[in-house]
Amino acid sequence: MLQTARRGRKKTGSEAQAAAAVHERYLEAYRWMLLTRLFEEKLASMYRGGMITGGVYVGKGQEAVSAACGMFLRKGDIFAPLIRDQAGRAAFGEPLVDVARTYLGSRLGPMRGRDGNIHRGKPREGQLAMISHLGAMISVVVGSLMAKRWRGEKDFVGLTTIGEGGMQTGSTHEGLNIAAVERVPLVVVATNNHYAYSTPNEREFACASLVDRALGYGFEGYEMDGTNLNACLETIETAVKRARAGRPPQLVVASILRLAGHGEHDDFSYVTDDIRKEPFAQDCLKCAEVCIRELGLADDATVRNWRDEALRKVDEAVATAQREPAPNAGEEDWCAISTRELCDPVE
C-alpha cells in the first residue's frame, strides 16, 4: 500500500527503500496519466478544430488502469491495447509523435496514413495494432506468446485490454478459452466503464461482476477500483508477476466511468446523473493528485513542472507530425501483399 511520508514510526532501511520505490512508481504512473490527459485534450481540441479527420477516441478516466497496464511490461513482452490505452501505450514505449502521426495520417508514422487514430502499432516491437472488431486481438496475443515459448524465450508476458462491451463478443470468448487451454502467460485487463458506446451495463451482460467469468475459463481473477491508481498498480503488478511465473492466465476487471464521449463526436448525454455520482465515476487523475498532495509525494511546483514538460512534449509531437508529408495517392504502393509478384492486377 501507498504510505504517507509523514508517518510516526521511523522506517527501517529496507522498509524505507520499498516505500520510496512504491512512491516513485506511483509518480511515474501519474506522469504517464498526466501526459495522456494533456495529449488527448490536445487531440480533442484539434478534432473540434477540424484538424483531425475521422475521429478522436480518448481514455479520460481510464488513465490509471491504462498506465498500470503499460508499466509492468518490458521489452520482449507483448502489448495489445485497445481504444482507451494511450497511457499504457506511452508507458510501454510508444513515442508520442507516432500517435500524432497516426491521427494526422503522416506518411512517416507507423501506419503511413493507411490506418488512423487508435488503430496503430508496431508489431515488430511487441505493440500489436488492433483491428476494430472487438476481441479479435486476444487470440493473436496468445499465438505470439506460444511462438515465444517455442523459441525458448523466458519470463515474457502478454497483456491485452478490453472493455466490458467487448467481453460479450464471441471472439473474446474463444480467445480467453484458448489462452487458458494453451496456458500462456497472459494478462487480460477488462475495464467496465459502464457503457459500451451508449449502452449501459444492464443491456450488456447479466452477471454480478465480469470477474465471475474468470473461473469459467480457468483464469485467476481480480477486481479493482480503476479510479485508484495505487490499486491499479498493485493489482496489475500482481497479475503480471503471476503470469510471468507461469500461473494460469489472469483476468483483471476494473471499474470506472468513461469521463468523455465514446469518441469526441459524442456528447455522452446518455450517461445518467445517478451514475455520475457513483464512486467509480471519480476522476482517477484528480484522485492521484489529491494523493500526491496529501502524502507529500511531490510538491506543487514539481507537479506544475511536470505538467509544463508534458505540454511541451505534446506540442512538440504534434508540431513534428504536422510538418511531415501527407501520403500521396500517386506515389502510394497499392498492393496489399508483400509478395509483389503475386499481386493480382484486378481492377
Binding site: T53, Q168, A196, S198, T199, R203, Y270, P327, N328
Partner: protein, 322 residues
C-alpha cells in the same frame, strides 16, 4: 419538408413500427435516448417502447435472435453498427438465415441493415461495402438503395418480403442526399432504374457510386457525350434485362462499384452482359471498382481508392474512343 437519406431510413422504420406490430429493431445503441451511431433510430425507442432494443456487442447473437423471432412470426430489423462488423454475423446470415427456407420450407423475414461504404477518415474497418459477399451466397436479397426515395420505399419493401434481406445503406449518402418528399410507392423490388438516359455508353452502378457516375455523365455531357446511367437498386436479384436493354441502346458498358474488385458486383454485371448480351456490345466492356487494398484512412488515399466521378469519366472516355 426536406429529408435526407438518413432521415428517410428513420422515417421508414417509424412507419414500419407504427403499422406493423411484428416489427422490432435490434442492434447496438439503437435504443435509449441515443438512437444509433448514425441516429437512424433516433427517438424511436421512446415512441415505441420495448420495440427498439439495445444489444450487447454480439453480432452473431443479434442475428440469431432476429432469425428466431422471424421464425415465430416477427419482422425484425437488425442494425449493424457498421457493415464491417457484420463479418461477425456472416455465418448466421449466410448459413442460418440464407438456408432456412430451402431446408425447412419456412422463410426467415429478417432485414439486416448495413451502414456501408466509405467516408473520409473512416479507414479499413468502418468503410467496407459487403454486398458482394452476401450476394454470392444463395437465399438472400441484397438491396443497395442510391436515392432518398429508394432508401425509404426499399426498406419498407425489405420488411414486407418473407425472405432475408441485406439492406446496404451508404453512409456517404446519409447527409449528402436530400429529397423534398417521401413517395408512397417505389419501383418494384428487383428492378433497375434508368437514372439518366443516353445513347453513347451505359454506366451501370448503384449506391453512392450512382452519384459519382451521374457526375461523370455530366462531365462527359460537356464534351458532348450522351451517357446512360443505370441504378441497379438491388444487386441480388440483379436486373439483367434492364442492363441488357440499355447496352442494346448504347453498345458500350462500364460497370462501377465501390466494393473490392475481385468478384464484385461489377464482375457479375460484366459476366452477364458478356454471356447474355455479347452481340449488343460494340466495344469491350469495362469496370471500375475500389482498389484491391484495405480502405485507407487518409483522405488523400481514400479519394484515390474509391472510384471518383473523374476516374469514372476518364475510364468512360477511353471506352468511348474504342
Amino acid at each position: 419538408m426536406s429529408l435526407t437519406y438518413l432521415e428517410a431510413i428513420r422515417e421508414a422504420q417509424a412507419k414500419l413500427l407504427r403499422d406493423d406490430p411484428r416489427v422490432f429493431i435490434y442492434g447496438q445503441d439503437v435504443g435509449g435516448t441515443f438512437g444509433g451511431a448514425f441516429k437512424a433510430t433516433k427517438g424511436l425507442a421512446k415512441e415505441f417502447p420495448g420495440r427498439v432494443l439495445n444489444t450487447p456487442i454480439s453480432e452473431d447473437a443479434m442475428t440469431g435472435v432476429a432469425i428466431g423471432a422471424a421464425l415465430e412470426g416477427m419482422r425484425p430489423i437488425v442494425e449493424m453498427q457498421f457493415a464491417d462488423f457484420s463479418s461477425i454475423a456472416l455465418n448466421q446470415i449466410l448459413n442460418n438465415a440464407g438456408t432456412q427456407y430451402w431446408r425447412t420450407n419456412l422463410p426467415v423475414p429478417i432485414t439486416v441493415r448495413l451502414p456501408s461504404g466509405g467516408t473520409k477518415g473512416s479507414g479499413p474497418f468502418h468503410s467496407q461495402s459487403m454486398e458482394s459477399l452476401y450476394a454470392h451466397y444463395p437465399g438472400l436479397i441484397v438491396m443497395t438503395p442510391a436515392t432518398v426515395e429508394d432508401a425509404y420505399t426499399m426498406l419498407i419493401d425489405a420488411i414486407s418480403i418473407d425472405d432475408p434481406v441485406v439492406y446496404c445503406e451508404h453512409k456517404y449518402l446519409y447527409y449528402h442526399l436530400k429529397a423534398d418528399a417521401l413517395p408512397s410507392e417505389g419501383m418494384p423490388i428487383g428492378r433497375a432504374r434508368v437514372a439518366r438516359a443516353g445513347r453513347d455508353l451505359t454506366i451501370v452502378s448503384y449506391s453512392a457510386m450512382l452519384h459519382e457516375s451521374l457526375a461523370a455523365a455530366e462531365e462527359l455531357a460537356r464534351e458532348n457525350w450522351d451517357i446512360e446511367v443505370i441504378d441497379l437498386r438491388t444487386v441480388k436479384p440483379l436486373d439483367t434485362s434492364t442492363v441488357l436493354g440499355s447496352v442494346a441502346r448504347t453498345g458500350r458498358l462500364l460497370a462501377v462499384g465501390e466494393s473490392f474488385p475481385w468478384g464484385g458486383v461489377t464482375a457479375e454485371v460484366l459476366a452477364r452482359v458478356a454471356s447474355e448480351g455479347f452481340h449488343l456490345l460494340d466495344a469491350a466492356p469495362a469496370r471500375l471498382n475500389a482498389k484491391d487494398t484495405p480502405i485507407p484512412y487518409h483522405p488523400n488515399l481514400w479519394s484515390a481508392h474509391r472510384p471518383s466521378s473523374h476516374a469514372i469519366a476518364a475510364k468512360a472516355r477511353r471506352l468511348l474512343r474504342e
